[in-house]
Structures are given as C-alpha cells and as structure tokens.
Amino acid sequence: MNKISSRLALFLPLGLFAALSLVLLMGLDKDPTELPSALVGERFPAFALPDLENQDEILSRADIEGEVLLVNVWATWCFACRIEHPHLNTLAEQGVKIIGLNYKDQRKPARLWLLERGNPYAFNIFDAEGSLGIDLGVYGAPETYLVDAQGIIRHRRVGVVDPRIWAQEFSQLYYELTGERPELSGAP
C-alpha cells in the first residue's frame, strides 16, 4: 500500500504540470486588452455638457433616459471609428436610437466628419475634456454602451461594433429590451 502511494506521488509533478498547462491554455483565448466592466448594471453617470452642434445647449442625463438607446464614444482622431461609422449608420436607418459622445475632440472637424460620413446620432454630447469619459471609465474609442429605458447600462463594448459583435453581444439583449431585431449585414 505504502509503495503504491509513493509510486503515485511520482506522478504528482506531471499532474501539476498538466493542470497548469490547462489553465494557461484557457488563458490563450482571452483578450488581455479587454477590461472587466465596472459599470454594467449601474445607472449612466450624471453629466452636464454642451451639445456638439449647439454649444449653448447643455445636455444632461435626463436627455438620455426614458428610451432604450446606444451611447457611442467616438472622435475624429480615432481610426477605428472610421471603420465603425457605416455600421452605426445602418443601425440608425433601422430605427436604433444612437447618442454620440464626442470624446476629447474639436467641434469643427467633428461636425465635418458627420457631414461627410452621415450622421447616425440623435444628438452628440461634446466632451472636450473627457470628464464624462472618466466617469464612464472610457479608455479608448470607440466604445458603445447599451442603455435601457431606466438609464441602466446593460452592455458595454470597447472597440468596434461590427456585424459579428452586434450579432454576438447586442442583438439578443436589444431584442429583449425593445422587441425589435435590427441587423447588420454580413453577420455570420
């Protein structure tokens, strides 16, 4: 009996090695740049910031509550936003309400961007200093938040929302909240 258990003990390092390999193997699939989200399930933070088009108009949280909508963080300096923009246009055409958060940008190029590429946004919050960005925990544009009618953040995507991401992460949740199922072409 004693002999058998001491023999088995020789396999312990092998077993530990196998277990460690398995854990590390699972880690390979994870995207290390993706942060756990602190705000999902929380209310959208309060803010008081001007409108991009009209600097005298001060927008606040009340302007975005009451409806299911997307809040999209974008900027003209953000290259990935160029790739994302047509998808936002497609969603807006299908009746998705999208609020823009123009993040650490300048008014003139931002307005020009919307003229050139089309404007999918119901309106744009102009956050030149990035203060709402800090309250949201924004660390890179683009970011997209799905906010429900109570103003609770239900989902957050850091990075481009493309047909694949829409189908995987947003579509079902959006359907549950609104009963509608807008689609982005090219979804698998």
Binding site: P32, T33, L35, P36, S37, A38, L39, K104, G130, G133, I134, D135, L136, G137, V138, Y139, G140
Partner: protein
Amino acid sequence: MIRWGLLLLIFQANLLLASAEIVPFSDESLRPRYQQLIEELRCPKCQNQNLADSNSPISQDLREQVRRLLEEDLTDAEIKEYLKSRYSEFILYRPEVNQNTWLLWAAPVLFLIIGILVLYRLYFNSAASARAVTPEKNGLDSHNQQRLDELLQENRDQQ
C-alpha cells in the same frame, strides 16, 4: 569627441524627461501621496504600465484627475475607490483580497510551505539512504539486493 557628444545627448534626454511634467500642488505635502498613488495605479489602456510611467493620453487625464481629487481632500482609499468604480479592479496594481484574488495573495505562502515540505522530505530521505548504503559486489545495497531477489523469485513463480 563623438563619444562625449553622445554622452552629453544622453544626459540631455534625461533632463528633458525629468522636466516633462510639472504638477502644481497647493500643498506640497500632497506630492508624495500623488507619487505613491500614480505608481500604484495602472494605466487602463496599457497592459503593464502604471500611471506614472505611461504617457498615453488616458494616463495623462487620470494623473490630472488624481491630482484634482487630492486637492479636493479625498483620502487615498477614496481615490482608489473612485477609479475602481469606473475602471474596474484592473486599475489597482495591488489588488484587494477578495474571492477572485485570494489565491493570488495566498500563492507565495502556499509555495513556500510546499517548498519546505519538499526540502524536508529530500533531506530526510537522503539521510536515511546514506545510512542504508552498504556497498555489495554488484553495486546494489542490501535493500535493493533483497528487492531484486524478491522480484526474480516472483518472476520464477509466475512462470
């Protein structure tokens, strides 16, 4: 000559880096706390840099925010909580002990205990075998000679 020139360049580069950012404080006693905080907080955009080391725009903004919060008289714990509630635990370079991180914190102690156990066993086994060694003609000690005889006997029995 060129060598001296290069050396001079290196020193100048250091000077430039050192003077890259001047952070104004109303009270100088806040500065060491600021330094400590930005070294313990992680840049959310970078994989492995703290706010002090990183020059990414988000780090600059967060350093400024830390400075502002210090001026507003928040404690270090409150500032960390403020950032944690926005950027998640990722931002803390020294994570809190909770159900996700207890293993991380306990691991060094666990490994130390395992290491001591292994050393203990190795030491006593070698001491025991050192005592047991009595060289035989075929190079086997008496214990192994006995086992060899047993195994051979078993083999014969099976046939």
